[in-house]
């Protein structure tokens, strides 16, 4: 009897789970859905009326340093927003009224380069979860903001790492990655029990002695080999697999002391959601010496490949290529470039092997394109099930790298080189946002930008694409043509991720505005005026004007 009721309930629930790849009234996860589409099914705001979009409220966090880089979460009319310095706010999503706030007390000395920003919280089961600048995880009561538990992941001084990415809740566990890819540190991904904060599992991104893959590190290099997990992963409920992207090996540029492929750096790993055990991995860049983080989002889509429907995973790599693999087993499907200026490799063959690696030698200044800032930065792409296109930004810029030999010091910076930004061979550095067929890599349209675009993309079923630029414009493009339909000056550059949600039948578009971050800082080397771009930390919320009753 009970089993019957259970299976009926599950059968009812299943289509809901499968359809939940686009968001609706809520924006429940960092990536919108577990599949990380950053696509809203809402259509009230669409290409016919987007020109009437108007601001309805704004919210200031009061923490301008590092800008506002987060993604708000919205559940049942309440927005949860985090800012630099680990502030969390619960806000009435229709009016902008603050319900509660929580200011985490960070220690005076942080001193790691991955600060002071925070990129988001996770909200589930009446709890709000956040990682902190001093490498703690905290859980708050979603109703009151009261701290429920607080646990140190590893002492900051020891690991030189912390948590700036948003956690991901899967069933009774909250999963959070750490920074530290540019520190002498061995990376990991942790899952904590939602209720108690106790560690449920830990996946070490660098295999230890006796584990498969350990032989891909020479000597003791595995102990301090980086492999950060600093962004947020995705989840396939049907396969019960968590997908997480593992960043670059350390030292970033100096690879002589870590001979080998350096698994699982620059890899996508698929883990059993319950145990954290590795199901498969796909390494994009064996023995990376360019700091090409495979750290960004893993977008899960089901699309036909050569006439057969495949479960795919799309990941844009910092080196300027998009990799597509089969997410059931990690099989390489294809790779295609998003940036035009790429010279660290000549190409990628049909098996996913890099062709013609251009590795800088110690002490020899070498021009590498793109720059360390990336052929794309971490700001996320979007996928629309309507067009079946993938929307991502890309950056055109180069750098001179000089590799330095370096010895690791536990918990301290471990880069192995210096770099200076350079313009592109055609003298036209800048950014663009493009629409692609994700299976063929065929470009559908391009929106050109004077400066790199460093904000995430939002797609909506209203045939719209939203993003913002470094000068502070938040704008909407036609999802089918790339034509600009609307723009609003928010006063500070965009580095966060916009979302859409609805409350009482009214659709809202929310965007963080607030310039900052490491890559934003780099821009001053190529565009001196960018050094004067104004910081900020404000969330702007837009909607169509209310019709008079």
């Amino acid at each position: 009897m009970l089993m019957n009721a259970m299976s009926k309930f599950l059968l009812l629930l299943l289509p809901q789970l499968l359809l939940a790849q686009s968001t609706n009234a809520n924006w429940p996860h960092y990536g919108g859905s577990y599949q990380f589409w950053r696509h809203s099914a809402l259509t009230q705001v669409n290409r016919t009326n987007v020109a009437q979009l108007t601001p309805v409220w704004a919210f200031q966090t009061g923490m301008n340093e590092g800008g506002l880089q987060s993604t708000p979460i919205v559940i049942d009319g309440v927005m949860y927003l985090s800012s630099s310095g680990n502030r969390v706010f619960a806000i009435d999503a229709a009016t902008g009224r603050e319900i509660w706030h929580y200011f985490y007390q960070n220690p005076k000395e942080i001193g790691v380069i991955y600060s002071p920003w925070n990129r988001g919280v996770a909200v589930d089961q009446g709890r709000v979860f956040m990682g902190t600048l001093d490498n703690h995880m905290v859980a708050l009561d979603a109703k009151s903001g009261r701290e429920l538990w607080n646990v140190e992941v590893e002492p900051l001084a020891k690991c030189g790492c912390n948590i700036t990415g948003a956690p991901l809740v899967v069933k009774d566990k909250v999963i959070a990655g750490v920074t530290g890819g540019d520190s002498a540190h061995r990376g990991y991904l942790n899952a904590f029990h939602v209720k108690t904060g106790r560690l449920a599992w830990r996946f070490e991104t660098i295999p230890g002695p006796g584990e498969p893959g350990h032989e891909t590190w020479s000597g003791d290099s595995w102990k301090f080999g980086g492999g950060a997990t600093w962004m947020t992963g995705s989840y396939d409920p049907e396969l019960n697999q968590v997908y997480w992207a593992v960043g670059n090996p350390a030292a970033d540029f100096y690879g002589d002391s870590r001979q080998g492929k350096n698994l699982y750096t620059d890899s996508i790993v698929a883990l059993d959601a319950d145990t954290g055990k590795l199901k498969w991995h796909h390494q994009q860049i064996p023995h990376d010496v360019w700091d090409w983080d495979t750290a960004y989002e893993a977008v899960l889509v089901d699309l036909p490949v050569k006439g057969r429907l495949r479960k795919l995973l799309i990941n844009v790599n910092k080196g300027g290529y998009t990799f597509v693999v089969d997410r059931t087993n990690g099989e390489f499907i294809t790779a295609w470039p998003v940036a035009r200026n790429i010279n660290w490799v000549k190409g990628i063959d049909e098996s996913g092997t890099l062709i013609g690696r251009n590795e800088p030698k110690v002490g020899v200044p070498t021009t590498i394109c793109p720059s360390i800032g990336g052929g794309r930065s971490w700001n996320h792409a979007a996928y629309s099930p309507k067009t079946k296109w993938f929307y991502t930004t890309a950056i055109e810029w180069c750098q001179t790298v000089t590799v330095q030999s370096e010895e690791p010091k536990e918990g301290q910076n471990f880069f192995g080189g210096v770099f200076s930004l350079k313009t592109t061979p055609d003298g036209k550095p800048g950014g663009h946002l493009d629409a692609y067929d994700p299976v063929t890599g065929q470009k559908k349209w391009t929106y050109e930008s004077k400066y790199p675009l460093l904000a995430s993309v939002l797609a909506t079923a209203g045939d719209l694409i939203f993003t913002g630029d470094p000068e502070g414009h938040f704008f909407a493009l036609d999802a089918e043509t790339g034509k600009k339909l609307w723009s609003f000056p928010t006063g500070s550059g965009h580095r966060g991720s916009s979302i859409s949600y609805s409350v009482n039948g009214r659709q809202y578009i929310a965007t963080p505005s607030g310039w900052g971050s490491a890559v934003a800082g780099l821009m001053g080397q190529l565009w001196p005026e960018a050094e004067q771009f104004r910081n900020g930390s404000t969330l702007f919320v837009f909607a169509l004007p209310e019709t008079k009753k």
Binding site: E65, G85, Q105, N106, P107, K108, E109, I110, G111, V112, I113, Y114, S115, P116, R146, E147, L148, W149, N150, V151, E152, V153, E154, P155, L156, A157, K158, D182, T196, G197, R198, L199, D252, I372, T400, T402, Q404, E406, Q412, N413, F415, G416, G417, V418, F419, S420, S517, A518, V519, G521, L522, G524, Q525, E531
Partner: protein
């Protein structure tokens, strides 16, 4: 004339040393960029900084920011060399080093305390807020909650219907805020502090004794 020009091109030894230290420590990655050209950290080239300010920030870092204190990583002479180099990047007059404040000696005990004790304890404003003092005889209790969960805990605070404890089930303590009504019993706990290396203990005590 040629000789004079060559002499002018040659960097003073401290600037030379500072440039090497800067390239390895300050210019790397997302920090201040090659030759201080700016990255995540602010641009240092072609700006007018006061030497004393540069020396203080290099030594002490900037609180709650990515800028670390270098006094534990560089010797006082090395800090002076880095400052000389930054002054040089600004085309400034070097002059004699003006180190008037004595740089405090690095305390290995502090790092040990931070990495081994600070998760539970608090001393000299370092460590877990509300954490246990280092005095012996701290009471650890076995708490049992209404839902049957039971764990060893150190009591941090109690009041207004809430009890804040350190859950000591695992090596890393978890600070938990419980509704006092959730706690059904607080019996004696079998929990024991993990062993402390005598050498570490001596260094930590030396740090505690520092003024």
């Amino acid at each position: 004339m040629i000789w004079l020009a060559l002499l002018a091109l040659q960097l003073p030894p401290s600037v030379e040393q500072g440039s090497k230290l800067f390239a390895k420590s300050c210019a790397t990655g997302y920090c201040h960029g090659a030759e201080g050209a700016a990255a995540r950290g602010p641009r240092l080239k072609d700006r007018q900084f006061e030497r004393a300010y540069l020396a203080r920030v290099t030594r002490e870092g900037i609180p709650r920011s990515a800028m670390p204190a270098w006094k534990d990583r560089f010797s006082p002479a090395e800090i002076e060399a880095v400052v000389d180099y930054i002054v040089h990047l600004n085309g400034g007059q070097l002059g004699a080093p003006t180190r008037s404040e004595a740089a405090p000696a690095a305390a290995p005990g502090l790092k040990l305390f931070q990495t081994k004790c600070a998760g539970c304890h608090r001393a000299k404003s370092v460590g877990l807020a509300g954490g246990a003092s280092l005095a012996k005889g701290q009471m650890v209790r076995q708490l049992t909650l209404k839902d049957g969960e039971t764990f060893p805990a150190y009591l941090v605070s109690e009041g207004q219907g809430l009890t804040v404890v350190l859950d000591l089930t695992e090596a890393a303590p978890i600070r938990r805020s419980l509704e006092t009504a959730e706690i059904v019993s607080r019996g004696p706990a079998k929990w024991q502090h993990s062993a402390v290396d005598p050498a570490d203990s001596a260094q930590i005590q030396a740090w505690l004794m520092l003024p």
